[in-house]
Symmetry: C2
Subunit: 337 residues, 2 copies
């Protein structure tokens, strides 16, 4: 029950604490010899400068927060991988916060880290986009924020997104070209940025091919697996779609299960394309056609942008909205039987 601090270490070494302190920074004001001696002793006594004390002095924490709506989603865990990778190389630590799509919690987290606890934030916002003005009050010079994927359009922060509109348009077009005419769009929250943009791509593709938009084919799902099972089964039975565009991965899985249960054959009776970062999409039965977002790169990019800002480099305008390209990988689930 004995804790080492800089003073004790200094005493042991018969030096002042300033000298010891210098040994742990880049300071040139110290003889190599003394420095070695200090470092050696520190290792021996297992001394490490207290991070919080340093932080308080230096007003920085070398920590960034990653805020995501959920963890049970390959996309977000890949984002974290990307952020972690970049953060690590610059010596930053990362704190993870999961909002469960609850804007109150999102707000609470942002507040909770607004005290020097983190130096910056990488965030994909929660689904609800009603009142998010709290973000506008954050002093981004003190606490920079980079948004990715699920963003708030009216908030002026650096953003990284994927070409969701195009991907959605192309996916729908692909289904049409495979002969689908009753294409359903599965969405969790169509008020939210990505849900909305992807829906627009879907609708515009239908219009281009003069396929009437049927409101019933836009299916509102939830975050609950159980509820979605019912919703999707119901939609399949009642609306008889011959194609499905799932705006998030999870909804495609639910569709697979529903089809299994209802004996609807994929792709014979129903073709599917899904936004998904599942790496083994090709091992599914049938292999799933995906819009694959470069999730890891997005995470890396977001982290790099944040670090750049943290290092004082100004973000130029071209970097305030970065659009990355997704890839439409066509597999069996959307091809002729």
């Amino acid at each position: 029950m004995f804790s080492m601090d800089i003073i004790k270490l200094a005493e042991v070494l018969n030096l002042s604490k300033s000298t010891v302190s210098r040994a742990f920074r880049d300071s040139s004001d110290i003889s190599a010899e003394t420095k070695q001696r200090i470092l050696a002793k520190a290792r021996e006594l297992n001394y490490h400068p207290n991070h919080y004390a340093s932080n308080m002095r230096e007003q920085k924490s070398m920590t960034i927060a990653v805020v995501v709506p959920e963890l049970a989603n390959n996309y977000f865990t890949q984002i974290i991988q990307g952020v972690e990778k970049v953060a690590k190389t610059s010596g930053y630590h990362i704190l993870i916060y999961v909002t469960d799509d609850d804007i109150a919690r999102e707000q609470e987290f942002i507040r909770g880290v607004s005290n020097g606890r983190v130096d910056g934030i990488v965030m994909s916002v929660s689904g609800e986009s009603k009142d998010h003005s709290y973000l506008a009050h954050v002093d981004v010079d003190r606490l920079p924020i980079v948004l990715f994927d699920r963003i708030y359009d009216d908030i002026d922060l650096p953003k990284i997104v994927t070409d969701d509109y195009d991907s959605s348009f192309r996916s729908t077009e692909h289904l049409i070209q495979q002969g689908c005419s009753r294409i359903a769009y599965l969405v969790v929250n169509k008020e939210q940025s990505i849900g909305k943009v992807r829906m627009q791509g879907y609708m515009d593709a239908l219009r281009k091919y003069r396929i009437p938009l049927r409101k019933r084919l836009i299916v509102d799902c939830t975050n609950s697996y159980d509820e979605n099972a019912g919703i999707i089964e119901n939609a399949i039975q009642k609306q008889r779609p011959d194609g499905i565009l799932a705006s998030v991965e999870r909804l495609a899985f639910s569709t697979y299960y529903a089809c299994g249960k209802l004996s609807v054959r994929i792709p014979d009776d129903l073709k599917i394309v899904a936004f998904s970062s599942l790496e083994i999409a090709s091992l599914l039965s049938p292999a799933l056609t995906t819009v694959t977002q470069p999730a890891i790169q997005i995470g890396e990019r977001a982290a790099a942008l944040l670090l750049k800002k943290l290092q004082g480099t100004p973000i130029d305008d071209t970097e305030r909205l970065i659009t990355m390209e997704s890839e439409l990988v066509i597999r069996a689930s959307s091809l002729p039987a």
Copy 2:
């Protein structure tokens, strides 16, 4: 560029900083009225007590570190989900560290958080188990550690594991009962805790059924997808196994790809069982038989155990080694064609 601190807030309110400070803790030495006034003003001016300053005073950070070998693995992301969930309810923050199975980095991380940066650690160790004595030097009264899944046997810390030996034994037995006699065991690191224990279960099951152990059927894989592709293809062609037990999920995926490439049919020519936390194992082609570990619960349990310790409750002996049960979920990949 104006930062709110307790002194400024006190000035605005015409109070002393002590009084303001009291408003933010449970202190009863303050009138309800004053407290309200302070809290209201704080909200208005967006003041939050600086976390690091508090930490320094209180010698605790309300933060725990989660150290995992990798993030590209459903098991570990589910663990994080579990830890996050429990930590959140107790107001703890979580830092994520990824070792990439590099013990040097593991060591570096532990050192790096040994300064009050975190109050405790939940960790699954890296694969290499040569020299990990550094862990023995950690003062676990100051910095409690809970190990899970991949552990070091000779380190006396609370541990949470799954019944890997039994699972492995039963899986192998299951394959034997399906008529397999040349069962390969795919492993990444057979020196490491889980790799070793799972191998033992495999070997003992073979012995029970008097099936000779063929060294060639124990296939050493790596962490690289590309390398594994070659290794596994090679093993399938040269050793002609009729059953495979994959000790980690990723190796099962590689096997699926290899079989596709080599036109080996699953389960007709080769049956597979894998340790895997993939939630959509039943959607694979064919559906994958899995040993499913209760990953989320393990994470929850590990976090709960750590929090218990942090709250000063002593850990009793029965909790020093907790064994959770995995479930063998039999699906098409290991059943008769």
